[in-house]
Symmetry: C2
Subunit: 327 residues, 2 copies
């Protein structure tokens, strides 16, 4: 299998073909309350409606579908805070591939339970003292299994990029001219995929990554031009966006195509989750709400066309959600 | 203005034309977790994404848009537990019509606040001791304002029926053959509208009303053939579905077109709300969840084609919601 170091729009079109039988074409929604609050036209790409409740299924299915018979039989190994875990587990189940996922012991219980329910073997680790990469790499080598990275892989990036194709198609169906897209950013796979798809078809569109404070490695890397890391003591409620640095494959794409990196606070994320509950009637997890938070908090730059906000995931524990919306 | 005693598919097609500039074409969603749990293909019509968070805007806007200049100047009066209130208030605001809404003093705070925020005057009453009809009728007569019933009105029924047209169009787009539709039922306006639309275009489709236990007046009326009332001490968490009996206009339509009336318990409704949170990632209020409850609890009859579940509204207080999903 040949992996090119970067991806093109053709890789994303091919990914869309591959995932079509299994993935959901999630809705692009518009809400008058949000438009009024933001003072502009906003379109919401709701990936909570995707299989497994986040966009991660797109990349995982696109990656696993490329494995040959021998690779499928040997299984896959991944590490993930929970959404990539579920995406890989669901894709593996559909394709009849054994899956082992290295997950933080303190991942949201819903993400652990859902991953297990999808038939994957879970190997827990301590997020603060152990290296998930090392554990997963050792597992894949000992088993001859294929390692499925959560973002730094061309097939993964191309799969996430199918979100961008849908956004452009659905915005056109809604009669909207897209001026900017705000994308939640952990390791940068979704951002890089969407940027590749959208800049190829609508080059004037501005794409912004959005990260939680403390995990603004992509914002700082975009500013400095080199891959920056996070502080070792960084904490955030956005468990899905805790990648320690931009990816080796994703960062060059994002550096070339993004208009900038935005940052929001955990309190702004909580406000966005409450707004999604009360006005949008959508369940959004903390990491899935950062782009909405940027729009509501006035962090998003002005746009000459409609602003698209990606709600990237919705897997949140009931108790944590109840505490945030009930506050 | 001539109001015909019943409505036809043409009235609904005309309503769809009238509300198109203002209403949301809400998504018809499919979820693999729901299909697996239900053991059949289920499509979800999510009216939480409608303007004001429930289907009620459809009928309200269709009704208010028919008023002439003098009627608009004199304003409108409505009574409602909250969703019709918001629908009327939002339509009135868009059409620049003064609106007064008679609402139960114990309506969910979110419904009272949203109705007030839309610029309507609110007149509270005690649901257990006062007649909302009498209060609203007296108000409309003293002011020369038009009374806007919450269900027993041809324009209202026709407006709600646009939901049925969208279901058939969107199911066809999804490649689904609709075998049955489960519709939340209070006074029966949404049910009658959907039934009129769907039976005209797809006569073999089975339509079922779904009500909470204690407020099963439509189910019992369908069985007996005459309009039955509820017990005076009936209670339910489904505040949106507390109409005391089927409507004079809606019941003959439902009696002629429905395949039966289903009933679910409050506990089954809570389970459905939790499922919507955890798996669908959608916020649904108690009254909006009864059709989903019927599907999940095995109350829905078998279907020879896809089952459509209408999620009719999503206006629920954060504390009440937190208590249900966190339990």
């Amino acid at each position: 299998m040949i992996l090119s170091p970067a991806i093109s729009i053709d890789d994303i079109i091919d990914a869309a073909r591959v995932i079509a039988p299994a993935a959901v074409r999630t809705p692009l929604l518009e809400n008058d309350g949000l438009n009024a609050r933001a003072g502009r036209r906003v379109l919401l790409k709701f990936e909570g409606a995707q299989r497994t409740g986040s966009f991660k299924f797109r990349g995982a299915y696109n990656r696993l579908a490329r494995l040959d018979a021998a690779e499928r039989a040997a299984g896959v190994v991944a590490w993930s805070s929970g959404n990539h875990a579920q995406g890989v587990a669901a894709a593996a189940k559909l394709l009849d591939i054994p899956a082992t996922i290295v997950m933080p012991a303190d991942a949201p219980a819903i993400k652990l339970a859902n991953t297990r329910a999808l038939g994957a073997e879970i190997v827990p680790y301590d997020r603060h003292t152990q290296s998930r990469e090392e554990i997963a790499t050792a597992l894949s080598q000992s088993r001859g299994a294929t390692l499925v990275p959560s973002f730094d892989d061309p097939w993964i990036i191309a799969g996430q990029g199918t979100t961008g194709l849908e956004i452009l198609d659905q915005a056109a169906e809604a009669g909207a001219d897209v001026g900017q897209i705000l994308v939640c950013c952990g390791g940068g796979g979704l951002t890089a995929g969407i940027a590749t798809a959208v800049k190829a078809r609508a080059p004037a569109t501005h794409i912004y990554s959005v990260e939680p404070a403390g995990f603004d490695d992509t914002a700082r890397s975009l500013a400095s031009g080199v891959r920056e890391g996070i502080a070792p003591d960084a904490r955030s409620i956005c468990d899905a966006l805790m990648a320690p640095s931009p990816g080796a494959l994703t960062f060059p794409i994002n550096h070339a195509l993004l208009s900038g990196g935005l940052v929001v606070s955990d309190d702004q994320v909580r406000d966005a989750m409450r707004f999604a509950f009360a006005t949008l009637k959508l369940v959004v997890e903390p990491g899935g709400a950062v782009a909405l938070a940027a729009m509501l908090a006035g962090v998003a730059p002005p746009s000459s066309g409609a602003s698209v906000v990606v709600l990237s995931g919705s897997n949140v524990d009931p108790a944590a959600y109840a505490a945030i919306i009930g506050a």
